[in-house]
Amino acid sequence: MSAEAFVTLATSDSYCMGAIVVARSLRRHGTTRSIVVMVTPNVSQRARLGLEGLFDKVIVVDVMDSEDQLRLSMLRRPELGITFTKLHCWTLTQYSKCVFLDADTLVLCNVDELFDRDELSAAPDPGWPDCFNSGVFVFRPCLHTHARLLEHALQHGSFDGGDQGLLNTFFSSWSEADISKHLPFIYNLTTSSTYTYLPAFKQFGHNAKIVHFLGVMKPWSSQGRTESSQSQNMGRFLTLWWNEYRAQKNCQPPASEGEPPHKFEKTQQVQREGAKSLFSKKLEISDLLLTQSSVQMEEMHSMTEPKDKEEEVKVQEGSKGEEEHHGEMHTTQLTSSEGDFHPEEVKGPSQFLPLSHTPVNSPVDEDMSPSRGSKDIQDSPLITEGLDNSQTKTRVSEADRVREELQRRQLWEAGQADYMGRDAFKNIKKMLDCFLE
């Protein structure tokens, strides 16, 4: 059998979080195919490392640094940059057939049967069912097709400015030619359908196989705000997403064991039997969850929460010299998770990943006022320590500074600027004055 693969795409550090969930959920449900991720050059090295253990292949796609035709296309239509990156999947000719999954999807059961379909199979878009949604589709990598796609893009552009418009005009016969290329909607259940057609969702929603978090609000950006603004159903999928994401942190090996930090996928699952069974149980009963009230959801969480934490603490006990911090960290987390699980849940995972939201040990931490952001930072020494151990503590201060900068910016972008500390306007003003004569 020639190789087949699931392909996803991460265009920024935060999308890497999504890609991780895609990979994990595929693995959990025992796919027999390879899993490949394409990343753009702007994705940081650290985030890329985080993907390497999970995916069979991490491919860096730099359209500006590729063969002439593509680069030319990019120069002529810069607004289609991301689209060109996505089209790049057609060049993965080492595989005979692929299924593309957007990084903002979540796989709820084994979907290997998708490989029985032919190019180009996709599910209808809820907004315009005569178009397919390009979040999930089956395709055959082929350089010739790729070239034709590029040519098409240059000639016709994309009616919606993205890949979906382009692909829909390219595969324009999709809506009527061959019904076998119509994937059922449950393979690309967009979360907006819960309010556009609620009765149908109630009837069929529990069959969902792949959930697609369409729209501006991505699961990784929910920040605990979701509860109020989103529908209940959406909220449940979000919880599932976060469970999947959290599952990973429990699988992270203790840093002191000196293993490569991200090669945990297979081995760690055994180690973390307890946690795993809890989460897989949760995912197995995800159908049930869909029909349960959110109150029960929360109950489940309050049940699992403390156990997770004990687990964490145990894991960390391996690393030396951290006991003092431990006590602190443990209590903070416990107190902070009282009541609703969201704030903790949102922040929890990010701390255990060398990803975009990883807080870094920084001098400001001490004088942070107990505001929203502080929890993050109080917890952070542990994680940083863990990372440093694994990376043999040879970091020069320059690299630290860069990391710190990155982290500061991420806090800003999460609406948590340290406005009483170093982000005070007087410092901004100094920077402004540099160029004002």
Binding site: R408, A417, M420, D423, M431, L432
Partner: protein, 710 residues
Amino acid sequence: MPLARSLSVTSLSGLEEWDEEFDLEDAVLFEIAWEVANKVGGIYTVIQTKARLTAEEWGENYFLVGPYVESNVRTQVELIEPTNPTLKRTIDKMNSSGCKVYFGRWLIEGSPYVVLIDVGFTAWSLDRWKSELWELCDIGVPWFDREANDAVLFGFLTAWLLGEYAAQCEEPPHIVAHFHEWLAGLGLVLCRHRHLPVATIFTTHATLLGRYLCAGNVDFYNNLSEFNLDKEAGDRQIYHRYCLERAAAHCAHVFTTVSHITAVEAEHLLKRKPDIVTPNGLNVKKFSAMHEFQNLHAQSKSRIQEFIRGHFYGHLDFNLDKCLFLFIAGRYEFSNKGADIFLEALARLNYLLRVNHSDVTVIAFFIMPARTNNFNVETLKGQAVRKQLWDTAHTVKERFGKKLYESLLVGQLPDVSKMLDKEDFTIMKRAIFATQRQSQPPICTHNMLDDGSDPILNSVRRIGLFNSASDRVKIIFHPEFLSSTSPLLPMDYEEFVRGCHLGVFPSYYEPWGYTPAECTVMGIPSISTNLSGFGCFMEEHIADPTAYGIYILDRRYRGVDESCNQLTSFLFQFCKQSRRQRIIQRNRTERLSDLLDWRYLGRYYVAARHMALAKAFPDTYIYVPHDPTSTSGFRYPRPASVPPSPALSRHSSPHHSEAEDDDEDERYDEDLEAEKDRVNIRQPFSMPFKNKSSVHGANGNSNGVIDEKN
């Protein structure tokens, strides 16, 4: 839409041109705002009304820059090829680099050119630009704040446009870029950072933080200097916006605000004192007939009276001719707009009128949109009952007329006793019975969704003004904007304002305040405060605002209770005026229109631009500031004849401002004709001001200013 006013009562001597000797040479002006051809809030009005004057001044070299919003473009903009070759090259270049930039004429008065940038189309650059912004000044923008992300895109795109334009010019250009509000502010910062040959102006119409703090019921003005700005902004989750705003204010060559009160606010909240205040104007259309606005007032008033007849059916125990219509209108911000103290003052006024056995009835309208379930039955029934009475009277009249006619045809004088027969009496009696009413006339015209928690209704309950027969002050709350298609009060806002006697706007936070300005142009007196931009402006320009029907409440240096007493005394004074006095007062008010016309106020913008050019290009331009008085502009003199009533009533009214006390003896106490008054004010220099004003430089003085600082 320009507000109409009459031609004949304009032309005040004081408003001569500032004849500037300022050669603009080849300069071009870009005016950049998020609300160009895109109505979101009040800035749209400012830019849209000002465009004509600016277009006249700059001609082909004036470009407004805004966001491309398809629905707006379809209705307001005619897309054309760029006329200016440099700009055409600029736009072509940008469009070939992945932008969508449009050029057209904005179909408003003056039909200025607009450059519209499709912000969403360039969203693919957001990440890169945010990184650049971070490198530049350490400001990050949260992903969830869509408006701020748009501001980043818009800022980078406008800076790109200006930079590209400068690059496309053959000779080093002189560009003036005027940025409005924080949403456009980033473009300014980038211009400075890239050292573009651009003279930059930044105008805030209100500060972000001020708006938030006032909405939060903070004792704002007394603590202005004490706020920890970073903390206040951060706690309110607007730190990034505040940083953008403050960065723009900091980087601008010239920083302006719309009023003196906002200038004080900006000085403390943005830490920069505005270089010049640029007040907002209106486009004043001139009527051909004299005193046309008075006729319009009478027409509109009678329509409001009709509504009142219906609304108060069964309780019409007051004389409609002695009935004064007061109104407050605007966004429903209960305390920011001063509805709280207005209600309290109405309660006190009610008491005063009752103990003085006044025959005046005051009806106060609250026009503030809130959430409703449409009109309530009782109000609609009122209008139906009125209509029925009208129809009945009409039927009886017809029959009466027919009998009269027949009687005259046969050459007899009619027998009056037989003119109305039994049947007529029956239908009339039935109609009268239909007007019986057990309940009080309703306060609110609509079914409120939050009846129990509505601040106006709760205040009314507390002060107990329930439109009962003994109350001399009645209240009608219309929680919806007015519309000429309404079944209840079929008038649009302008007609309604014209029909009222007094607009009451005792706002606590009001950076400019178009509502009292509109009243003024329509010749309707108004009450504003010294915390509103309009109030400050009038106080500065008019010697005795009260005489001109501009009552300015002191809310800055007085407690709430004192302000409330002052408001009560204003209202009471107003109620004591005779009809004739009110007419004279309206004439005077209307005469202030010129002050609010862009033709006059535009000069502040002109000065700001000159100042910026001189700062940015000191080798080419020199800005000579006017003598200190000129920025404070022209001050209206005291009118020749002061309406006697306020002067007389002063001793009896409990509170009044001290400033008005010292000169009563010198005032003319005569009841001059409005016409005569107008003639007098045309020669302000011949007026016998002995006490306050020192008329100086009567003929030579460039502004004809009467310096009023004692």
